[in-house]
Amino acid sequence: MRRNSPLLPYLFVLPLAGLLSFVFGLSLVRLVEFSFKQVRGVDGPWIGLRNYELVLGQPLFWEAVRHNIQLFLVIPVMVVIALALALLLYERLPGWRIHRTILFLPYVLAIPIIAVVMKQMFQFSGPVNAVLSALSLDFLVLDWIGSADVALWTVMALILWRETALGVILFLSRLMALDETLIEAARLDGARWRHRAWYILIPQMRGVIEFFVVISAITMLSAVFAYVYVIGGGRGGPGTATMVIELYIFNALIRTSLPGVAAAVSVMLFLVSLILIRALFALRRREEE
């Protein structure tokens, strides 16, 4: 019978196998291969570890790494703010639904759009500085985008502004799924908001908080290209102040046409992200149990 043909399941999964081998399988194999080759155009001679030596000996690479590490500082701030806002929304004060809609808005806007808008807001002669000097906070009037000392912090503020929204919604949906009886009992006992949050709610949110920390770490490591591409004018500027690993790979591949060097950095980035990915899967498994 046609229905029970042993080959039928393979016909169903064949397109998947084909697509994934093309985009991921073949690519990951060739990525490792290229990282040991001096690629000119589409191929080149084997050169052992020379690409890696070149990259590891280059100050710009280490600067990019340092910048990615600096971005990790955003994560704890994001967790605290998102947690506080989610707990406040959970109180269901009058108008909380409107606040929820507005607080998620940053995550709805695409990164390139919001980066262009913020870049204009934070120009030296822009509205942010205009407001700061109107409030007599002149010591805070900085060249947010144009100064090499400040630009990466501005990028961090932008990342904080957008990615916190995801934390709020994740945390709030976890809170909504909690068993209300315990919380209600505490409320009737007259437990203060602070105490309810600290002793009853937050302990039950450990899983979702860890989860948010890990996905944020993956973001800081390998998904900030669009932010720095716009704020840094496509080159990680001013100077190299907003250079990150993704942009380093992009530059090596597109601007200086050194696919071998770009491949070596990609391999190292992939190995580091494997650690985070393992953590993510361990958390997911625990949540499902």
């Binding site: 399941p9 990951l28 060739r30 929304l89 998620f104 822009g126 992009f250 770009a262």
Partner: protein, 269 residues
């Protein structure tokens, strides 16, 4: 019980969340002269001229059309591939099934940036740079692991009786998938359409690398260039951003619940 402090905190947070969007819209309605004089206030006499300029004198519609082609192509391709495979993985017995599912799920976590080097070299070799089909293939591949994961999980929750009854009626597996399973799976399918469409529409990395031809630029790549070109005409730039943001803002306000669920599903993949 009056509690001013929580209200105040929420007000401030909402204001911070809202200010960039308001700045974008308000500035877009100001004349160049007015913006230079006053960067923060409301426009005295709103001008629509910048919107007219954006819509008629820039290729913004072309960029949107390009983005739409990529979204439609990759969403349809990845859904077709994922539905077939997820059905087989969830509902059929075959050797290598669990290995395939584990591998496919693991690929969810590969950062897209590590694929650009080999794909760029390959595409340069076989002439797929600046082609829709080449980029659709990449986007479809990137979003498929999560789609398979979500659909397998969902298909496994469907009751066995349903399948037994369909088999009794003499339906083939393909017929069961199309006539029985898919109509019951509209919620996860909608989530996937939103997640995947947003990923493709919002992506900048693949768009700037693989679509270098001006005629093939996407919205996101277009506006990244745009702001450089009109650097000093900030109201005009903001009108461009407002137009580019409009489709998503409107969808968000209309389909808020699905949209939020879709975005969350996409973020935790």
């Amino acid at each position: 019980m009056m509690r001013p402090l929580p209200h105040l905190v929420l007000m401030i947070a909402s204001a911070i969340a809202l200010v960039p969007t308001l700045f974008m819209l308000v500035t877009a309605l100001k004349s160049q002269k007015e913006y230079q004089a006053d960067k923060t206030g409301l426009p005295d006499a709103p001008v629509l001229d910048h919107f007219r300029q954006i819509l008629f004198d820039t290729p913004v519609f072309l960029w949107m059309a390009n983005s739409l082609i990529l979204v439609a192509g990759s969403v349809v391709l990845s859904l077709a591939v994922s539905c077939l495979a997820a059905y087989a993985i969830a509902r059929m017995e075959f050797r290598g099934r669990d290995a395939l599912f584990t591998l496919s799920t693991a690929l969810m976590a590969v950062p897209p940036v590590v694929l650009i080097v080999p794909l760029f070299v390959l595409y340069a070799q076989i002439g797929l740079i600046s082609t829709y089909s080449g980029v659709i293939l990449i986007y479809a591949g990137l979003v498929t692991p999560f789609s398979v994961y979500l659909l397998v999980t969902f298909f496994r929750t469907l009751p066995q009786d349903l399948f037994d009854a369909a088999v009794m009626d003499g339906a083939s597996h393909l017929q069961i998938l199309i006539r029985v399973v898919l109509p019951l799976s509209l919620a996860p399918l909608l989530t996937l359409v939103i997640v995947n469409a947003l990923f493709v529409w919002n992506d900048l990395l693949m768009a700037v690398i693989f679509l270098q031809d001006d005629a093939k630029k996407t919205v996101m790549a277009g506006i990244a260039v745009f702001q450089g070109r009109y650097n000093n005409q900030i109201p005009l730039t903001m009108a461009g951003m407002a137009v580019a943001a409009a489709p998503m803002l409107i969808l968000y306000l209309v389909f808020q619940r699905h949209f939020v669920r879709g975005l969350m599903a996409g973020a935790v993949k």
